[in-house]
Amino acid sequence: MAVERSARLMQGNEACVEGAIAAGCRFYAGYPITPSTEIAELMAASLPCVGGRFIQMEDEIASMAAIIGASLTGTKSMTATSGPGFSLKQENIGYAALTEVPCVIVNVQRSGPSTGLPTSPAQGDVMQSRWGTHGDHPIIVLSPSSVSETYRLTFESFNLAEKYRNPVILLMDEVVGHMRERVDLHSLSMSVVDRVKPTNKREDYLPYDAAPDGVSPMANFGDGYRCHVTGLIHNKKGYPTSKAEEVDFLIRRLHNKIDHNLDDVLKYEEYMVDDADIIVLAFGSVARSAHNAVRRARQNGVKAGLFRPITIWPFPEAAVTALAQKAKHIIVPEMNLGQLRLEVERVAGSRCQVSGINSIIGELIAPDQILRRIMEV
């Protein structure tokens, strides 16, 4: 009998699937698109083995709809996509945010706009991951830089989705998705978080009754609570309302439940930032190049540091503000024309200089490019 080894060489997309199944994902709906397709392929192979179900839907819109439907029965659910497919997910991401249905959306970013440069790496969906669906809505977006971190953050995405009853987006990029690294799954054991279920009787249960920054227990379809779920603005009972105070309470609560729990939601990594004059702020695969550049800058006697947001949205505003107060310059390398830099500039204000290194040619930004900029400033 073959002994299952816990450590093996694994692709980012593969680690995503492993993390999802370990977190309890038992339903996947998707549509083929590179560079995320391996996630669908591996889910198709893996889910039946653990009693879960996979379906290849007719399009991305339907895939997003299907995972929301599945999640309403209490089944942890996920979809994955890239580029144009992420645009199509947006309609029902908004539905999940308003109806507070936990679900995970993986976007292995590729070059755009439109069909773009299939299927070269890019990070052009930073703003779409925040504002892609219409209307004010809460969202949590996590971005991994390595294969093992892809495993952990996929797992964490499910936990956050369940805890906050919110869609969580795992914003990968093609480099991380297709890169292979050694991953030891045993060393990555994590605790599973499940949504809170109601304990009161049907007559007493209000599916959207929560404190102004709270999350209410969620009944499964089929458990006898006979809930109404609608994309209309709803009251605590879940019924449509246009009463000003009820509308205001709901939309603010949806934001507060995330914004008042930033200590729990925000994750970031700092490397040699304490005395740094120059901070490189980078995420995803570009943070790997940035790490290398910072280390070499230090060897050259330059006080450089790396700040790597792992939670992209909400943006780690307080931490970046603190860095901007100490540093002279923040360099933001990213594979787009400066989407995250906009946010850094907003937060840094006039406290320090901010500049970008921007690549849109479908190639990873190299450590030398970042090192050169560090030495220049």
């Binding site: 038992r26 339903f27 709906a29 039946p48 083995c49 009693g51 179900r53 379906i55 839907m57 007719e58 399009d59 819109i61 339907a62 895939s63 709809a65 299907a66 995972i67 929301i68 439907g69 599945a70 999640s71 309403l72 029965t73 209490g74 089944t75 659910s77 309609e91 029902n92 539905y95 499964n220 379809f221 089929g222 458990d223 006898g224 609570y225 006979r226 809930c227 109404h228 779920v229 609608t230 994309g231 209309l232 009972k237 019924y239 449509p240």
Partner: protein, 271 residues
């Protein structure tokens, strides 16, 4: 077991409903509720999924687990519900534009998979909620706010479309033939696979007014005069059938059900 009254399945807190006086949708809603009662479905194990539009507001009025989704996507949401918990009975309510235009792709693929859902389409030949635009089921030549000179588009026959796409049970009723409609929905629920029941409904506010069809009673008389029972239709000539539409059971062809087939894979993988 004594049958429950249809009104016992209504959420009184959601009343009054939004439908105009004379709208046919309440009759179709009544037919669905009577069918649920006749079929003996467990109220706590039945999920109603709807899209967006006048008809799709019905889900909110029904005392089950109910899911009022996005425009055209009801079948895609329902597919997720059913796949994740196949023991639930899932009934999907859509309007004609909802199902056949923006949801057309989801519709043909749900038919093709033969997944065990019962879809009831409220066909009033118009987009009512947005005040009277033509849909893919508006007959050619008819008027709508976006077809001020008459629509030049050819209409779908939704039942033929479902049959061609692979649905295993298809029937059509009208708000005039409400008992037939109920019976068809009962059979649709009993069918292990994808069932489409088209309910022809009247919209006196927009479709009737734009096309000078009179009030709701006139529109229901029109349904009576222009419908032909599917069995009777087999003995009629094309000339006799011209301008008429068929009602009754149009297709009953059991086929392997999607989730049952999927579960064979699960069983084999876990053996």
């Amino acid at each position: 077991m004594a049958l429950q009254h249809a009104q016992d399945y209504l959420r009184n807190a959601m009343m009054p409903h939004i439908w105009c006086p004379g709208c046919g949708h309440g009759i179709i809603l009544g037919a669905i509720l009577r069918a649920i009662s006749k079929a003996g479905l467990d109220q706590d194990k039945t999920v109603i999924v709807s899209g967006i539009g006048c008809s799709s507001r019905a889900s909110g009025y029904m005392d089950f687990d109910t899911l009022h989704t996005t425009h055209g996507r009801a079948l895609a949401f329902a597919t997720g519900v059913k796949m994740a918990k196949p023991e639930l009975n899932v009934i999907v309510i859509m309007g004609d534009g909802d199902c056949s235009a923006i949801g057309g792709n989801h519709f043909i693929h749900a038919c093709r998979r033969n997944i065990d859902l019962t879809a009831v389409v409220f066909n009033n030949s118009i987009y009512g909620m947005t005040s009277g635009q033509y849909s893919p089921l508006t007959p050619r030549g008819k008027f709508a706010t976006t077809a001020p000179y008459g629509t030049i588009e050819r209409e779908f026959d939704l039942c033929d479309l479902a049959i061609a796409a692979g649905a295993s049970y298809v029937g059509r009723g009208t708000t005039f033939h409400a008992q037939l409609l109920t019976d068809l929905i009962v059979k649709g629920i009993a069918n292990k696979g994808f069932s489409l029941i088209e309910g022809i409904s009247q919209c006196p506010t927009y479709y009737g007014r734009k096309n000078k069809m009179g009030g709701p009673i006139d529109m229901m008389k029109w349904q009576q005069e222009h419908s032909v029972n599917a069995v009777a239709a087999t003995k009629m000539t094309p000339e006799q059938l011209d301008g008429k539409f068929k009602i009754g059971e149009l297709h009953n062809s059991p086929a392997p059900e999607y989730i049952a087939e999927y579960d064979k894979i699960i069983a084999a993988r876990r053996a």
